[in-house]
């Protein structure tokens, strides 16, 4: 059996009712939107409040940690002073290494029969030496030793013979200039 529905309401009322339901729906939507907005806004403020509490707590801890470190400032300054001093001492102590090295090297390489009359080492570690040698062989040994990289530990750049002559008592008088490598 087919059911029939007949709306006996006047047309104007039907239109009015449709219109009213639309208004109601839009109003409900607006209220929901406003409620959601109020919810988000209050959540945002609550989260910000909690965050500011966390921030102030962390700032207090930071101040405590800074105080701990500041309390050790004298120790820290002493440590820095110690390190700086050690660096300075290391640099200064190695400042005359070249002078001492060349002196010790030449003294070591000198054959036993050669006599030194004068010797001087300058700031740059270059040595001028005046010798008396009984033979040319000893001189040759000395110069060869000074020029040998293995024997001179690769320290000497060059050896200049400024003078060589046969003096009294058949002694060869030599003056050498030894330049150290930079």
């Amino acid at each position: 059996m087919i059911k029939l529905s007949v709306n006996l309401l006047p047309r104007e009322i039907i239109i009015q009712r449709t219109h009213n339901s639309k208004i109601l729906f839009i109003n409900k939507l607006s209220i929901v939107a406003l409620v959601l907005l109020v919810f988000f806004t209050s959540s945002a403020f609550t989260i910000r409040f909690a965050q500011s509490k966390e921030l102030s707590g962390n700032e207090k801890n930071l101040a405590l940690a800074q105080e701990k470190v500041t309390g050790q400032q004298v120790k820290e300054q002493n440590l820095i002073f110690l390190k700086q001093r050690l660096d300075t001492i290391k640099t200064l102590k190695s400042g005359d290494t070249k002078i001492k090295t060349i002196f010790a090297l030449v003294a070591y390489l000198l054959p036993g029969d050669i006599q030194v009359t004068t010797a001087s080492v300058d700031k740059a570690g270059n040595m001028s030496i005046a010798l008396n040698s009984p033979s040319l062989l000893s001189l040759e040994t000395l110069i060869s030793n000074l020029g040998d990289r293995e024997k001179n530990n690769d320290l000497i750049e060059r050896v200049d013979m400024d003078s060589l002559y046969l003096g009294r008592e058949s002694m060869y008088k030599v003056s050498l200039k030894i330049t150290q490598k930079k």
Binding site: A44, R48, L55, K68, F81, L82, T88, K100, V116, V121
Partner: protein
């Protein structure tokens, strides 16, 4: 008034949604979104603070672990080796001692002007004339390197006397000292700990100082070398 009423009745369907929509946009745009951004910014700031706290606490722990007495001893060693003040009589006494120990005789001493040296240090010159065998001059150079003070040989001039190994040597020596300036330190700067190389070097330096620094008053009563440095370098 009638006009307004007519307008209201005509557009009342749209009025409330428009007003609430505008209010939502305004609140979102001026309140919620800026609050969100500042939340993330503050969160980053909190994270930075937490990192700083960790670093500072580690630094405080490192500083607390450093032994005060050994630190003071080390300070005394470096202040002796490189004193804060110029002390010519003390330096002269040290040099005289070294010259005698090396087997040389001191003939003459000249005191020279002060100068600025490397690493912001100050210095003055002491030129010595000594007599003795050449081996003693070699000993002098070794002993100067092992002296309880920083001496730098500037040059060596040797004159051999007649025959034999006796020499006359003129050696200008630069003596260094360095004032103790306070360094300002940032709280966040990392701790400048001593490396193993530094510790080894410090151990070598402490061997150069004849009197044990941990027991400054010697029980034997024999002549004691007085360190040049102050116990507190910042006094």
């Amino acid at each position: 008034m009638e006009q307004l009423k007519t307008l209201y009745l005509k557009y009342r369907l749209f009025l409330w949604p428009i007003v609430s929509g505008l209010a939502c946009l305004i609140i979102l745009g001026f309140l919620v979104i800026p609050e969100m951004f500042s939340y993330f910014k503050t969160q980053g700031h909190i994270s930075d603070i937490r990192n700083r706290i960790e670093v500072l606490e580690a630094k405080a722990a490192t500083l607390e672990s450093i032994d005060d007495s050994s630190n003071n001893q080390n300070l005394q060693v470096v202040s002796t080796i490189l004193p804060a003040d110029k002390d010519v009589p003390q330096t002269m006494a040290v040099l005289q001692d070294i010259i005698t120990k090396s087997g040389l005789i001191l003939k003459n001493t000249n005191y020279g002007a002060s100068n600025k040296g490397a690493k912001n240090s100050d210095s003055f010159k002491m030129s010595i004339s000594v007599n003795g065998p050449i081996s003693a001059v070699r000993n002098l150079l070794i002993n100067l390197a092992d002296a309880p003070q920083v001496f730098q040989v500037e040059a060596i001039n040797i004159q051999f006397q007649n025959a034999g190994s006796m020499v006359e040597a003129d050696i200008p020596i630069v003596v260094f000292y360095q004032g103790t300036g306070r360094t300002s330190i940032s709280v966040d700067a990392p701790v400048n700990e001593l490396s193993e190389t530094d510790k080894d070097f410090l151990a070598q330096l402490s061997k150069l100082i004849p009197t044990p620094l941990s027991n400054p008053s010697s029980a034997s009563g024999s002549s004691v070398y007085v360190p040049l440095g102050k116990s507190d370098p910042f006094e």
